[in-house]
Every structure is written in structure tokens, then in C-alpha cells.
């Protein structure tokens, strides 16, 4: 962070230097950005730069400025319809739309920041050309410039389109939603009919508050606890299970290895939303699994040992807390192991066999070999990605939502916050928006989820790209 500030500082310093020592063309570039290029007879560049400047300024003043001016209030004029007796038509007043103000306001700010950066780098570039001219160096013609995008500046060619995509689909929406977390945008404040406005950190306070009217604090602690337990258990079970299964199939005395692998991998072939919905029906209160359990006496057994009340009609696999939690974890093992097995198979094939051989000669038994040689090796390779998959499971929408979309909570405090016992943060936030239009709280929960994931990633960050592991194979 400090590094970044220093860089920005240096950039401004260079800018000042360029302005102070630049000749008339450089100084003229302060107003007309293409001037510096015209002065060195680089007309194409000059025209492009001037057009760009004009376009950006026009869009800032023509499109974004009116919205940015209202950013502090997010609009004050509410929509009203008036019935005009003379024309017999409804007329609508010139109302403010908070959503548009926020969105265009954010884009406007980004455009201005980008323009400032462009402006500074332009002056510096123009000054550099002046220097080169003075020292008689070769100045790239426009055609040279174009050619450089295939070579020295190929990364710009490659990265431009993907970056624009990321800015539009990712960065702007994220900034937008972060802002929503500080407003009162919910079902009672929906543009264009109603306005919403800034409320500061009130929503964050509400998330941790438990009172008569606000139950988010109560629900949040429970949802968060289940999210973390789920993420760790789901990762650990499928990871271990996958390695064991791969190990089992890879064993020298297992025949038809390919066939066994294929049988498990078939389950990946059918999309999760199909298999999970199907399983949710199988384990439903009146589903086929319950019929089996009643037939073989499992239902009565659970009643007898007191896990179920005497009046229970069925085993509530997916309809009661506790039961649902266990079922979800079990189903996830079913979903996750084939994939982990594929990954583990690849790793196990690369394991140095001489180590295992020498361990055998030394008289180690199978469990010792597994825990002392295989596991450390696998952990070394997949360790960082393990934390990534914990993060993936924190955001594992499919398994939870598709298995429990019919679940109804009986806990009033949970229901007041539109949460269920089986919700992860991510499914909670999804339903808050999709079913209850409570965008402000959804944003707050999203930000909290991000903070948790970011904190976890810090653990792996240095090993992923910060360290010197990169390029080991080159």
C-alpha cells in the first residue's frame, strides 16, 4: 500500500517536472492533449489523443456530472404521477432514481480517475518525446507503434479486452454493491418509485444486533458457525475420501482400474443441479429413502434410541436442523469424492516410488507408509489449494440451495431475518435479494464473506504467487 502511494507521488513529481521544463508544445498539451504530438509531426497520434480527450470530457460533463452532483443525497425528488384533466393522461414528474445516481456516480468517478491518469501519463510521454528529439534519437512513427503491439507491448494487446470485461462485470458491480451496504436499499425503498439514501454503518451494526425487532445478530452467529463448520468438514471429508479411494483403486491387486474410476466419474457427468435436486427428492420426508428406512425398521430404531420423537412419521433427513446438517455433509461426500479422486490419482502417480520401496524394506506397514510418506507428499502439493477449496466451500451455493430449497425453519428468530438453520452466508444473501429484496443486508453479508475469505487467503497468498515457487519448473 505504501509502495503504491509512493508510486503515485513519484508520478505527480514527474508530471511537475515535465510541465516545468517542457517547451511550448508540452505546455500546450496541458489544454489540448494531442498538441505535443502535433509539434513533433506525429499527426495520427495527436488526432487520436485529442479526440479521446474530447470524448472523455464530453461524457463527464454531458452524462455523468448531473448524477455525480446528487451522489451525496442519492436524489431528493420522489416519483409522483399526476392525472392531467385537460389531456386525460397521467404525467410523471421529473424524479430522481437513486439507483441510476449511484451507478452513474460511481462510473463517473472511475472515468475521472482514469482521465487524470491518462492526462499525467500523456504529459510525461510528450515530454519524453521532446527529450528524444533534442538528443536526436529515433522517434517511433505511428506504424512502429502499431507494430509494437505485436511485440514489446503484446501484453497490452492481450490484456485490454479481458481487463475491460473484468472492470465492467466485476469491479464496477463490486464497488456498487459495497456502496449499497451503506444505504437503506430494501423492499420499502425501491427505485424508481421510491428513493433510498445513505445510512452510514447502520446496517453493519444491525448485523451484530439482537433485539426485539432486529434478529440479525442471532441469525448471523448461527449461520456463520454452520458456514465455517461446513466448509472445513466438506473439504476434509472429500479430500481424505478422495485420496483413500484413489489409493484403493491404484493398489497393485486391484483389477479393471479404469472401469472402477469410470464408474465413479460418471456421477460428475450429470450436472449438479440435476443430481442434487434428485437427491433432495430421494431424501424428502415422503421420499423413497424414507420408505426404505421404514421398511427395514430404521425409523423405529431411531425412535427407540430417542433420536426421533415417538410420533414421527418419517426421518427428517432434509427438514430438521441437525438431521439436515448431517445429510448435507454426507451428500457432499457423494458429490465431491469422485472429483477429488481424479485429482489425487494424478498426484499419486507422480509419487516417488523409491521412497515407498525403501520404507517397505525398513519394515513400515501400510498405515505408516500412508501417513508418513503419501500424505505429507500429497499435502505438500495440494496444501495451498486446500485452503482455496475451503473458500470454495464457503461459497458453495449449489449443494446447500438445491438440497434445501424446500426447507422451512420453525425458529422464529431465524425466520425474522429470512435465514434458515442450513443456510450458508452465500445462500442467505442470495435469498435476501432474490426473494426478499433486502439488498442492503445482502451487501453487508457479502462484504463480511469477502473479509473471511480474504483473511483465509492471506494464509496461502505468499505461497501461491508472492513467493518464489513460481517458475520452479522453468
Amino acid at each position: 500500500m505504501g509502495n503504491l502511494l509512493k508510486k503515485i507521488g513519484n508520478s505527480f513529481k514527474d508530471f511537475g517536472h515535465a510541465v516545468a521544463y517542457g517547451d511550448i508544445w508540452v505546455k500546450l498539451s496541458l489544454v489540448i492533449m494531442g498538441a505535443g504530438y502535433f509539434g513533433r509531426k506525429q499527426f495520427v497520434r495527436g488526432i487520436l489523443m485529442t479526440l479521446l480527450e474530447g470524448g472523455i470530457l464530453a461524457s463527464i460533463f454531458g452524462v455523468f456530472a448531473p448524477y455525480m452532483a446528487k451522489l451525496n443525497t442519492l436524489g431528493t425528488v420522489q416519483r409522483e404521477e399526476v392525472f392531467d384533466i385537460v389531456t386525460m393522461k397521467k404525467t410523471v414528474n421529473n424524479y430522481d432514481n437513486s439507483l441510476l445516481i449511484l451507478l452513474y456516480g460511481i462510473i463517473g468517478v472511475l472515468v475521472i480517475l482514469a482521465f487524470i491518469a491518462l492526462y499525467i501519463s500523456n504529459i510525461k510521454a510528450v515530454y519524453r518525446i521532446q527529450k528524444m528529439k533534442e538528443e536526436g534519437e529515433h522517434i517511433n512513427t505511428f506504424l512502429d507503434d502499431v507494430a509494437s503491439f505485436k511485440n514489446e507491448r503484446f501484453h497490452i494487446t492481450l490484456l485490454t479486452l479481458p481487463s475491460i470485461g473484468v472492470i465492467l462485470i466485476n469491479i464496477i458491480p463490486i464497488l456498487f454493491m459495497v456502496c449499497i451496504a451503506f444505504t437503506n436499499y430494501d423492499e420499502n425503498h425501491q427505485p424508481p418509485t421510491y428513493l433510498f439514501t445513505w445510512v452510514g454503518i447502520k446496517n453493519f451494526v444491525n448485523l451484530f444486533t439482537t433485539s426485539q425487532t432486529i434478529t440479525f445478530g442471532y441469525a448471523f452467529v448461527r449461520v456463520l458457525a454452520w458456514t465455517l463448520i461446513w466448509a472445513v468438514l466438506a473439504t476434509a471429508t472429500t479430500f481424505l475420501g478422495g485420496i483413500l479411494l484413489a489409493q484403493f483403486i491404484n493398489h497393485e491387486h486391484t483389477y479393471f482400474k479404469g472401469m472402477w474410476r469410470t464408474l465413479f466419474v460418471i456421477t460428475i457427468g450429470i450436472p449438479q443441479f440435476v443430481t442434487l435436486l434428485l437427491i433432495s427428492k430421494m431424501f424428502g420426508d415422503y421420499g423413497i429413502v424414507n420408505t426404505w428406512c421404514a421398511n427395514i425398521g430404521l425409523l423405529d430404531f431411531f425412535k427407540n434410541i430417542g433420536l426421533l420423537g415417538q410420533g414421527a412419521q418419517c426421518i427428517p433427513f432434509l427438514s430438521q436442523p441437525g438431521w439436515a446438517h448431517v445429510t448435507i455433509i454426507l451428500v457432499n461426500i457423494w458429490v465431491g469424492i469422485p472429483y477429488q479422486m481424479l485429482v489425487a490419482t494424478g498426484i499419486l502417480m507422480n509419487i516417488p516410488s523409491d521412497q515407498i520401496e525403501s520404507a517397505k524394506i525398513d519394515g513400515a506397514n501400510k498405515f505408516q507408509i500412508f501417513w508418513k510418506i503419501t500424505m505429507p507428499y500429497v499435502m505438500f502439493i495440494t496444501g495451498p489449494s486446500l485452503i482455496q477449496s475451503v473458500i470454495g466451500n464457503i461459497n458453495n451455493f449449489n449443494v446447500i440451495y438445491l438440497l434445501t430449497y424446500n426447507y422451512t425453519t420453525t425458529n422464529m428468530a431465524m425466520a425474522n431475518s429470512n435465514a434458515k438453520e442450513v443456510d450458508l452466508l452465500i445462500t442467505w444473501l442470495f435469498r435476501l435479494t432474490n426473494e426478499y429484496s433486502n439488498f442492503k443486508m445482502a451487501s453487508v453479508i457479502g462484504i463480511v464473506t469477502f473479509i473471511i475469505c480474504a483473511a483465509l487467503s492471506l494464509l496461502t497468498f505468499s505461497r501461491m504467487i508472492g513467493g518464489d515457487k513460481e517458475g520452479v519448473y522453468r
Partner: protein, 280 residues
């Protein structure tokens, strides 16, 4: 003697596990032939068999179930998103792996942080934005969503590119090849397995996705839906007794293109999965 016994047990265990894993798939398949349209809660196998469900699936679309339209929508979305996102991923991965430009590390760190925001969060905002320009409920809107930010998914492919020997790159440069030539003539042909893997993934992601469609498509007209949304809708309480067998048929049909992809590209795919994993 003891050894043979052990081997038999080993295979019995495997057979049992495979059996457990295949129960739901098997149930899906047999239910597609069931005369009973709703869920049969008493019998695993249908009491009477028929092909009528498939006929209904392909030739009798109605207001609630329109598989041909869903298949078409999903296919269009999958194909175009796949095209755009594969290109984006390959370009980004190449730039980050082979070109040592200013700010490379910073950009990579930044992209890692961006990837940590829950996708649903930015999707909600995208819903408002697309609504303003009238692209919700449209195939184009979904294609933009699936492919726009795909550049962020470059890490696995970059890991693979990193294993291409630097000497190759340098030799080509000495011969006077430009970066663009090296990219097109050397690196892309060399990385075929990984690129196939990338392409398959970029197709499967939109093909199998449920979340975004659920958020983006609010249309009540069944012909606007994709497969995930349409099939999900069939399991609503009011419809499930009419359409469960239909749902199973549809679910099985979705797997067909995926299976074909898997079988054709199997070698590449396994190399891809494991190659990416080893890179971690």
C-alpha cells in the same frame, strides 16, 4: 489362499461403493421410463415401463415444460460464452506467464483479491445494470455475464504455461519471431491438452450453472428459460406430481453433450485436471 480372499474382499468393497455412488444415477435412468408421472415413493423401479416421457420431452412442449427451447437457449449461451471466455483466459494466461511487463505481480495480486468477492454479490449489481439496459431475460445478457470477467480464471492455465521451457521462447525470439508469432505458432500448439481443458470448462460452466440464471431470468415464459432454471421449476410443489419423470428425462439429456465431450477429450481432460492440481 489368504491373498486371493483379500483380493475378493477388495473388489467387493469397490463394487459396493460404486453401487452406492450409482444409485441416484440409476434411479434417474429408470424413472425416465416410468408411466407414473410423479415421484414413486414406494418402488425403485417403475411398475410399468414406457417411452412416452421422451416423446413428451422432445415433441410436446407446453406452458410449464419446454425442453427443446431450454436446450437451444443453453446451447447458444454455452457455445458463445465458451468461445469468448476461452479466448480471454488464454490471452490473460499468456500475458501473465510469458511477458515480464511492468506491474505484472501487482495485477496478479489484484486479480486474486477480486476473485475473493462472492460472485453472487457482483451478480446482484449486474442484475440492476442489465435491467437498466434491458438485457435481463435475454441470452445476450447471460453470455456477457458468463464470459465478461472470465479473464480472472487464468491461474491454472498460467501454471501450465509456466512449464513451457523458457529456452524455447528465447530461441524463437533470437530467430526474430515476435511475441504474437510465438504465441500463435509455439505456445498454443504446445499446450493443446490444457487448452482443451480450458475450453471444456468454459463450456460446462454456463451449461451447468444454476445461480446466475436464477438471479437473471425473471420471465414467466418457459421458452425464455435455460435448462437449469426450467428443470428446477418442474420440481415446485405444484408441478412435481405432473413432471417428475419429465425432469429425469431432461436431466439425463443434459448429460449427453457432457458425456460426449468427456469421452472425446478424456485424455486431455484428465491431464488437465491432474496437471492443474500438481501445480496447486
Amino acid at each position: 489362499m489368504k491373498k486371493t480372499w483379500k483380493i475378493v474382499v477388495r473388489h467387493l468393497v469397490l463394487a459396493f461403493l460404486a453401487f452406492v455412488w450409482l444409485i441416484p444415477i440409476f434411479w434417474l435412468i429408470v424413472t425416465t421410463f416410468s408411466v407414473q408421472k410423479g415421484i414413486n415413493t414406494n418402488h425403485f423401479f417403475p411398475e410399468q415401463w414406457t417411452l412416452a416421457n421422451y416423446h413428451q420431452l422432445f415433441f410436446e412442449p407446453d406452458a410449464a415444460a419446454n425442453f427443446p427451447a431450454w436446450f437451444k437457449n443453453s446451447m447458444i449461451i454455452g457455445t458463445f460464452s465458451c468461445l469468448v471466455s476461452s479466448i480471454f483466459v488464454i490471452m490473460t494466461a499468456y500475458a501473465f506467464s510469458f511477458i515480464d511487463f511492468k506491474g505484472r505481480k501487482q495485477l496478479m495480486s489484484f486479480s486474486l483479491i477480486l476473485g475473493m468477492f462472492p460472485g453472487v454479490l457482483s451478480m446482484i449489481a449486474m442484475y440492476f445494470i442489465l435491467k437498466m439496459i434491458g438485457l435481463t431475460d435475454s441470452v445476450v445478457g447471460l453470455i456477457i455475464l458468463y464470459s465478461g470477467a472470465s479473464g480472472l480464471g487464468y491461474l491454472i492455465l498460467k501454471g501450465f504455461f509456466d512449464t513451457v521451457p523458457t529456452s524455447l521462447h528465447e530461441a524463437a525470439k533470437l530467430e526474430g519471431a515476435s511475441e504474437a508469432t510465438i504465441f500463435a505458432k509455439i505456445v498454443v500448439p504446445l499446450s493443446k491438452p490444457m487448452i482443451v481443458y480450458t475450453v471444456i470448462n468454459s463450456f460446462l460452466n454456463p451449461w451447468m450453472d444454476f445461480v446466475m440464471v436464477r438471479l437473471m431470468i425473471k420471465s414467466k415464459d418457459a421458452s425464455d428459460w435455460t435448462m437449469a432454471l426450467g428443470l428446477f421449476n418442474l420440481l415446485q410443489r405444484a408441478l412435481v406430481n405432473q413432471y417428475f419423470a419429465y425432469f429425469c428425462c431432461g436431466g439425463l439429456m443434459i448429460a449427453v453433450p457432457i458425456s460426449i465431450l468427456f469421452i472425446v477429450m478424456q485424455k486431455f481432460y484428465v491431464e488437465g485436471v491432474t496437471g492443474g492440481a500438481v501445480k496447486g
